[in-house]
Subunit: 254 residues, 2 copies
C-alpha cells in the first residue's frame, strides 16, 4: 500500500473524524473494495492513518450514516452494497411543495425514460431480458393479487435501465421515480390494468430489440401517468378547499 | 403542533438516534422549515420526542453528516441550505471504472441537457436570463484569465437548468456533470475557446426564447465534449500500456 496516499490531508475546517472518513473513502477506492468486502480492522486503520482508534470509530460511524460502510456486530465492518448511495439523495422529502415536485419529476421522466427504453431495446443481453421479464411478471402478480405493486413497479423501471448497459442510468431511475410512492396510493387503482398492458408492451419491445416501439410505449405509459396525476390533483384541489388534507404526512405547502 | 405526528415510530432495526433523526426530519418538513431556519432547541426537542437530550444530540449529529442540519457553535442548530443534498449522492467516487463512468455520464447528459436547454428557452424569466448571462461571462473571464473555469462551467449548466422552472432539473445537473471535474484537467485546454463560443450561443438562444436553436447548440456542445473525451481516452490508453497512470488519485480499474 502506498502510504504517501494519506499525506495530503486538506487543511479544511472539517473535523478530524470527517477528514479521516475522507481518507477511509479514498482507501476503499484505492484498494478497489466493493459491496460486501471487509474493511481493514481498527488497529490497522489507526496505524495507517496515524490517528487514535476513537477517531477511527467516529469516522466509521460517519461512513455508516452515509451508507458507505455497514457494521456487522461481532464480525466486522464491511463495504455497503451500493456504497455512498442513500435513499432520497436530493432531499426531495424536504421540498415544501410536494405536488409540484411530483409534476416536475414526471416531466423529467418523460424526457429521459423513453430514451432509456429505446437504448434498452438496442443493448439488452439475454440475461437482462430474463430479469426484465421476471420483474414484469412480479408487478403483474402484485396487481392481480391486490397487493401494493409500487415497490416492484420501481424495480421494473430499474430493470429497463439496466438493459442500457449505462452504469449511471439505473442509479438515476430511483431518484426520478421518487414520486411513484408519493401519489401512488391515490392513482394505483385507476391505472392497475393499464400498467399490466403497458409494462408487457415495453418488455416485449425491448426483448424484440424494437427501439422505436419501446420508446413509443414508454412515452405512452408516462403520458397516462401524467393525465391520471393531473386528474387526482384537480380532485384534491377541490377537496382541499374544504378539508386541507395531507399527502402521506407531508404538508402540501402551496 | 400536532403531537400525534410523532407517534408512528416504525418498529425497525434502526437505532434510537436513527429513529429520532427521522422524526426530526419530519418535523422540519411538517413545520416547513427551510435553509437558514433555526431548529427548535435540545430541550424542546427532547420533550416533544420523549427522549433524552443525549439522544437528540446523537440524532442531530447524524443529520449534520447528511447535510440536513448545520451547527453554528454557540449560536444554535440550523437547517442546511439544501437540506439532505450531499455531494456525490450516487457514490460515483466508489465506482471502480471511472473511465466508463465518464462516458456513461456524458451519454446521459447528451440525452437530457438538449431538452433542458430547449425548455429553458421556452420558460426563462427576465431574472433567470440575467443570472444566466452573468454565469456565462464568469466562465469566459475564467478562461481568458487562464483560471480553472470548471467550477463556474458547472454553475453555468445549473443556471440553464434553473431557467426551466422545473425544480428537479437544477438538482440533477450537478450529479450528471460529476465527470466535468474528473477529466477536466486533461481536456480543458483543448476546448477553452470552443466553450466560450458554445456557452454564448446557448445563452443567446435561451434569451431569444429560441428553443430549437438552444437545443441544437447544447447538443453540439456536448458532442464536442464527447469527441474530445474519446481522443483523451485513446491517448491515455496508449500511455497506460507503458506507465499505468492514475486519474486524480483514483485507480483506473479496467
Amino acid at each position: 500500500m502506498d502510504t504517501s496516499f494519506f499525506e495530503n490531508v486538506q487543511p479544511k475546517e472539517n473535523s478530524l473524524p470527517e477528514r479521516v472518513a475522507d481518507q477511509i473513502s479514498r482507501l476503499i477506492v484505492e484498494r478497489q473494495l466493493s459491496g460486501g468486502d471487509k474493511l481493514p480492522n481498527e488497529f490497522e486503520l489507526a496505524e495507517q492513518l496515524h490517528v487514535g482508534r476513537g477517531t477511527i470509530r467516529e469516522a466509521v460511524k460517519l461512513l455508516v450514516s452515509r451508507n458507505v460502510l455497514v457494521i456487522r456486530r461481532g464480525i466486522g465492518t464491511y463495504i455497503a452494497n451500493r456504497p455512498g448511495q442513500i435513499e432520497d439523495p436530493l432531499g426531495f422529502a424536504y421540498y415544501p411543495d410536494q405536488t409540484r415536485l411530483c409534476m416536475d419529476l414526471l416531466e423529467v421522466r418523460t424526457n429521459l425514460e423513453p430514451w432509456v427504453a429505446a437504448t434498452a431495446a438496442e443493448r439488452a443481453t439475454q440475461s437482462d431480458m430474463e430479469i426484465l421479464r421476471d420483474k414484469c411478471l412480479v408487478v403483474e402478480r402484485d396487481i392481480l393479487e391486490g397487493k401494493d405493486h409500487l415497490p416492484n413497479d420501481k424495480e421494473f423501471h430499474i430493470a429497463v435501465a439496466q438493459c442500457t448497459q449505462n452504469m449511471v442510468v439505473p442509479s438515476l431511475i430511483p431518484i426520478i421515480t421518487f414520486s411513484v410512492g408519493l401519489f401512488g396510493t391515490m392513482t394505483e387503482y385507476a391505472l392497475r390494468s393499464e400498467t399490466i398492458v403497458d409494462h408487457r408492451a415495453i418488455t416485449d419491445a425491448i426483448c424484440r430489440h424494437d427501439a422505436a416501439e419501446a420508446e413509443r410505449r414508454m412515452r405512452q405509459h408516462l403520458e397516462k401517468n401524467r393525465v391520471e396525476l393531473e386528474r387526482v390533483l384537480r380532485e384534491m384541489d377541490s377537496k382541499n378547499q374544504a378539508q386541507n388534507p395531507r399527502i402521506h404526512g407531508f404538508s402540501k405547502g402551496k
